[in-house]
């Protein structure tokens, strides 16, 4: 079939096919390497024990992933909670509300946020944000929300600025551009005829955004959130500077914790025993599986929604 075509066409399709296959080969390769390198630790700790054990003690060579998984989940969840409303707000402002001369600069500024290297977010977080959090924001939160029964448990302890909360704030700033840019692009795809007819029957700006633009671009926004989720799960350097890498499960957001990536970045270079090194690879394998599952689930819902939508 292909040979009958123009040879340039054939070469082109071959190259693109090769490029796409490389991705699959690479993912497979990463999985195989992680599996091989962690096999020692898998044999020693098993799967369930490793996932549930909260012990991470290099001295006694006893390792478990629960604390790191907990930190990863909490920071990612909190970051998404803070970033998504802000990102959608930004997208609505840029597409619907802002005057034309503001649209360009704001759009560019948001995309530049995504271009800042994560190590710079980390240093900024350590030297600028953490003191602000420790001196002003966290004590204020403690006095207001922290006094309430029930949720107060989240805001206990001495605010140090090196904790789950600060890390989540930095993460949320880092993922805002991903959601915001994609949400903005899908908002602009709303046909102006639909919007104009809504305005024509007397809808306010708020009603148009709520009832026309948002439902129309739901899928795009979800896609942007899924991208952010992947980014937040895997972010390393920015979090490494402000999270402390303390392997503990805490109820308070004002306590130091550890995520999987932070543990890898902090401990990989100095891990000298075989079990220690293997456990770090095991941790990486857990993250690999975790992101794979989370993103696959997100994609699945996206596909389902898309099908319902197109019907």
């Amino acid at each position: 079939m292909l040979q009958k075509k123009n040879p340039v066409d054939f070469a082109f399709s071959l190259i693109t096919a090769l490029a796409s296959l490389t991705v699959i080969v690479l993912i497979g390769g990463i999985f195989v390497v992680l599996w091989q390198e962690s096999s020692l630790s898998i044999r020693k700790f098993g799967v369930i024990d490793f996932l549930l054990s909260t012990d991470w003690n290099p001295v006694t060579e006893s390792f478990g992933a629960a604390t790191a998984i907990y930190g990863t989940a909490v920071t990612t969840l909190l970051a998404l909670l803070m970033a998504i409303p802000a990102a959608i707000g930004i997208a609505i402002f840029v597409t619907e509300i802002a005057p034309d001369f503001l649209k360009g600069p704001i759009g560019i500024a948001i995309e530049l946020l995504a271009a800042i290297p994560s190590i710079i977010y980390g240093m900024w977080g350590l030297f600028t944000l953490a003191p602000i959090m420790a001196n002003y924001i966290e004590p204020a939160l403690q006095k207001s929300i922290g006094a309430l029964p029930g949720v107060g448990i989240l805001f206990q302890g001495t605010p140090m600025g090196i904790d789950l909360f600060t890390a989540s704030v930095i993460l949320s700033i880092m993922i805002i551009p991903f959601t915001a840019s994609i949400a903005r692009d899908s908002f602009t795809l709303t046909p102006s005829v639909v919007k104009e007819s809504a305005y024509a029957i007397g809808a306010t700006k708020w009603e148009v955004v709520k009832n026309v633009v948002l439902p129309y671009s739901k899928l795009g926004v979800f896609g942007g959130v899924a991208l952010s989720l992947g980014r937040a799960l895997g972010e390393t350097m920015a979090v490494a500077f402000v999270l402390g890498n303390n392997h503990q499960i805490t109820t308070s957001l004002f306590d130091a914790a550890a995520t999987i990536t932070v543990t890898l970045a902090n401990e990989f270079t100095e891990a000298d025993t075989d079990v220690y090194l293997s456990s770090l690879f095991y941790l990486a394998l857990v993250l690999f599986a975790l992101s794979f599952i989370v993103l696959a689930v997100a994609k699945f819902f996206l596909l389902k929604a898309e099908r319902r939508y197109s019907r």
Partner: protein, 336 residues
Amino acid sequence: MRAVAGIIAALIVAATFSIAQAEDILNGAGASFPAPLYQAWAYEYNKATGAKLNYQSIGSGGGVRQIAGRTVDFGASDDPMTPEELKKDRLLQFPAVIGGVVPVVNIPKVKAGELRLDAASLCRIFLGEIKHWDDPAIKALNPKLALPHTEITVVHRSDGSGTTAIFTNYLSETCPAWKAKVGEGKAVKWPVGIGGKGNEGVANYVKRTQSSIGYVEFAYAKQNKLNHAQLKNRAGSFVEPGFDSFEDAADSGDFDPKKDFHTWLNNTPGKTAWPIAGATFILLAKDKSEANRKTVRFFDWAFKNGDATAKNLTYVPLPQKLKDKVRAYWKANNLY
């Protein structure tokens, strides 16, 4: 055709260049603590002899793995390997430069060097047993200081590091409770406190947090003008961290060539010795005689000409007696 010939010619030139260069390039990898010094020495060595040193600062654990896998000419580690471990991988080991660890504090109205601590109180602070600065144990050591009743915040490293290895080895050696509950290593399970990334992370948190205590590499304490504490050494006197007290620690330390210099400079008996110190080590593969000769030539040159550079960068050069011992070790292993 011309293009192909050009490419081949270019490849040949590149190949001869890399062969020519391979002869005097020395590849090393490992500990990050001495990396700035090795790089400074390499620069001067290159100017003096034309030979190059390429040092990758990948961490002590990486240094040990790389030399065990024979992928570099020498490895570097802050954590000395025991003679048995060296035998298993057929390696040689010698010290290159001394580093010291300094407890740094931030207590209102207490000036640099005013606070006096001993091993027992330091250990109990890091175990979380001493919670306030006006604890009787600290007051007894500092009868003249007005210590506040504030909660102590402990700051430690969040990443694995040779500094932590030296510090926890000191605590394990001087304090049985620490040895039983925590132990020693480049990364440990800290009972209390918050973790800062790197020396700069710890320095930053101690500087910023009132009534905190942390530990950093001597150079960091000095460069950041952190408020250090005096420590009581094994001889019973309170000492200040500095070149002299580190050198005394090195002089009174138990560097035995028969044990491939495996030792820590913690709690050495010298009268003015700073109690928390350690050497950083170079690892050689026994079977790579050509690479070993080149490495030894470099360090021999650095021992002769590099002391001033080391002191400028706040590293403590090896004392003369120890240098002689290292040279004898090289000779005994046919490298010098």
